[in-house]
Symmetry: C2
Subunit: 224 residues, 2 copies
DNA sequence: GGATGTGAATAGGTTCACAGCG
DNA sequence: CGCTGTGAACCTATTCACATCC
């Protein structure tokens, strides 16, 4: 029998952390000047990212890239492989809900930094904002949210609304078929477990830092 | 012999993840109405935070709190214990460097949300900003940075300056004796390993979400 | 010689299972 | 009974060690 590929054997599944690091490698590679050396060693990538060289090589196994002993990895080629692995080279649409202080900062921050992700619309419930162009993005009324996500099959949403509205908006996003949410609202969202949620709570992040600032412990790095 | 307490036996060392969860528990406890039930079970905390009850109890062992079979944990008491563990109940000073879009959002976000952390000053290199009050915080010139951190023994700094300036500012913070940095600049900072750094790169976080949105995998939650 | 790629060993974190309590 | 507290089992992630290649 065995028609079900449950756990598709042979193909290694990328963990949350591994994906996080791959995104990081990709970003740091992009930061290297175009005219720098054509090849790069795993230990150099490691230094750039605060990761051991073994870890880098282990992660790169996932993308199926392949380096050359003695010369290392061809930079452009490697970047391409990682893009392929992460996004299949295709652009992916994103929407943002909640154009407050934080929402605006995110709009400003993300544009230009992620060429393979495009924010296609922003939403806010405040009538004073809807219709206007903010940080280069047109702000729509919340009523249009469901339709747009659904009709354009938007997979990813950024949630930067006040706590009070967060769960309700999340519900609407889920109902409209969203697959992943980057959540800045300080609340644990209830969503079906098919939807991936990454929470960023700035206050909590700061408290964690404050704790370890006092306790002077270890180095462990991971960019979100 | 055995004078060296290497690994100080008996006292469990809190891991990065455990601390993150404790911060989360504390935050969610704070969100419960004052007049709600006086006791709470580990499985209730777990539901509130998206964590298993075993995990909650395991983490609470670290703070040395103690629940009561049959009734659970006394809410106020527990919150107090966690505060004690995380911050020894004392207020801790924080500064912020870089009052751009993101810096402003962080200022607005953190104030009121972390009663035990107080932002004591903001800094920016733009003369148009220095001297003014932004989001309720007075903005100082960068020249005052080292002195203030040093003289007031500020342990924790928020870094929300442009990439180009990040490493230099980090160096100055370190020289002035900072112990922990919350870094929003999209660069891996080089700091002595006695300094704790937590990186938050919004673009990277979004890319991670976009990846898992396409790959529909697992639930794993962790609020930064 | 110094790098890659990777099985094997290790460390770290989570869940299980259950004793003990109220 | 259903909960807490916790040793032990388990599972995941990282590092080691080394065969292999240029």
């Amino acid at each position: 029998m065995m028609t079900k590929k449950a756990n598709l054997p042979g193909k290694a599944e990328a963990s949350d952390k591994a994906v996080g690091r791959l995104v990081l490698y990709r970003k740091r590679l992009a930061g290297i000047p175009e005219d720098a050396r054509r090849f790069i060693y795993s230990h150099e990538i490691g230094e750039l990212c605060g990761v051991t060289s073994t870890q880098v090589r282990r992660d790169l196994m996932l993308v199926g890239s392949s380096g050359n002993p003695n010369r290392g990895y061809e930079r452009r080629d490697l970047a391409q492989s990682i893009d392929e692995f992460l996004f299949e080279q295709r652009r992916q649409k994103v929407i943002l809900v909640g154009v407050g202080n934080l929402g605006r900062a995110v709009l400003a921050y993300v544009s230009r930094r992620s060429p393979l992700l495009v924010i296609v619309a922003a939403f806010d419930s405040d009538p004073a904002k809807t219709g206007r162009v903010i940080m280069g993005y047109r702000c729509h009324a919340m009523t249009e949210l469901g339709d747009l996500v659904d009709s354009q099959a938007i997979p990813t949403g950024i949630l930067s609304v006040p706590v009070a509205a967060a769960q309700e908006v999340a519900d609407r996003l889920v109902a409209a078929g969203i697959r992943g949410i980057l959540n800045f609202a300080p609340v644990t969202l209830r969503v079906p477990h098919t939807v991936y949620v990454e929470d960023i709570d700035l206050a909590m992040a700061l408290e964690k830092v404050a704790f370890f600032a006092r306790h002077g412990r270890h180095v462990e790095r991971m960019h979100v």
